[in-house]
Amino acid sequence: MRVRSLLLLSLLLVLLLPALHSALRGPGLRVATTTSLYDTGLLEELARVYREGGGGRVAFLPVGTGQAFLQARRGEADLLLVHAPAQEVEFMREGWGENRSVVACNFFVLVGPPQDPAGVENHPPLQALSRIAGAAGEGRARWVSRGDLSGTHLRERELWEEAGYDPENLRKEGWYLETGAGMGQTLLVASEKGAYTLSDLGTFLTYLRKGLVNLKVLVRGGKELLNVYSAIPVNPERVRGVDGEGARRFLEFLLSEEGQRTIGEFGVGRYGEPLFLPAARILGENSDPQLASWIREVALLEG
């Protein structure tokens, strides 16, 4: 009996060894990022290319944008990869970050039920929002908001403001739903309720391809919908215990020819179109002057 329990115990230990091993080894470079970026799979792909080029291991912490900034301030992350320009500028001004570089961009999309009850298809973004609000007032449409202060939610609020609506007032409307959840969950709610919402392209295509949502891209493109991702290495002089050297090297890789190519080609095989544009290269080469100036404007790079 004793021998058998000992055997069982040692078997259990052997089974737990891999978990123990990885627990002791540590996560590698810690990158705090937003769920919408992580869910596309781009980051895992970048980490794979980086590791195969001898760059070491990278671990991602997919959290809400607010939480990502908090983790960086508390020294729980070495690098930030986010898309909330106003907060990034604030973060830099307070001295938490070393520097800020634009690494990738894409466009948000306005999605909604295929029947498009508010008739917004191919309208400019702000006009589309007005039409949705108008139709919603007559009970013909609904809007689903992320409501979680994520980068996507902040943009959504900016868009409503630019269209002439006060987001705080909208919250009181019966047709304005707030999920307070990730992009994927929000898309599911929008699909279920036959509502419109703002989404990043990557998450939307992922859910569409899996047949999870009955929604359609109705408005895309334009400066208002440009979505810019920036990388910020956490300042090791300000925050203790941060791997400043590792963060710098991974950022160099992201901005390199190889990193930008990986970003620009990601998703072509699976979705038939790239999910991201190599923003650093576009800025560096000025190959598309209009897009480059949009990126600079949206990312608040000037001033």
């Binding site: 809400g64 939480q67 979680d148 994520s150 279920e192 047949g211 009955n214």
Partner: protein, 207 residues
């Protein structure tokens, strides 16, 4: 914040009542009768106590979503879906704990009741009366699990503001937003609530 707390209470409370309503007959059957497969059924309920909340959430999501078999009911992302999900989630707890309590009652009591002319049903009720402390614990444990779980509430409720947002989903949201203080406050309220409820029940039970 108050509306979130109240919503948590009524959703999880209703779910617990529902689970008790269909769990009680099951427990009486499993705890007091002998039949083939009884042990197997009990083990099944033991196992289901370890079912991850998100797994149950996912299964019900597939059932209730507009493309699922129960889609026409339009239950997904409503409080009703949360009640259904949490009730199913805590059913194994109700059944297992109740059975345990019923089995611990001296079998002689039932025989005695029957010799005194009680029907099968009356005899069962007598045993249940004897096991009431265990029964209260079963209901309490179920409510605690229901009110503190996140997976079902998030996947079936959708955390909609002013409609399906409960304490656990609000805590998850405020954490994601980086509003740690608010998160901790909500967690403190949740704990205080569960604590006072347990205290009240214990005090009442001691008398």
């Amino acid at each position: 914040m108050l509306d979130i707390v109240l919503r948590s209470l009524w959703i999880s409370g209703t779910a617990t009542l529902l689970a008790t309503a269909w769990g009680l007959p099951l427990a009486l059957l499993l705890g007091l009768r002998e039949f083939r497969g009884r042990r197997a059924l009990l083990s099944l309920f033991h196992t289901l106590m370890g079912l991850p909340t998100v797994t149950l959430g996912l299964l019900l999501f597939l059932l209730l979503s507009s493309r699922g078999p129960l889609g026409p009911l339009h239950l997904l992302y409503t409080p009703w879906a949360m009640i259904l999900g949490q009730a199913l989630l805590v059913t194994p707890i109700v059944v297992t704990f109740l059975c345990e309590a019923l089995e611990r009652v001296d079998p002689a009591l039932r025989d005695l009741a029957r010799t005194l002319g009680a029907s099968e049903r009356q005899a069962s009720l007598a045993v249940l009366g004897e096991a009431r402390r265990g029964a209260v614990l079963a209901v309490l444990a179920s409510f605690n699990r229901a009110v503190s779980e996140l997976g079902v509430a998030m996947m079936l409720g959708g955390n909609l503001h002013g409609y399906t947002r409960v304490m656990t989903t609000a805590i998850a949201l405020e954490t994601a937003r980086g509003e740690i203080l608010l998160s901790l406050q909500l967690a403190a309220v949740l704990l205080a609530l569960v604590f006072s409820l347990n205290l009240a029940v214990n005090l009442l039970g001691r008398r």
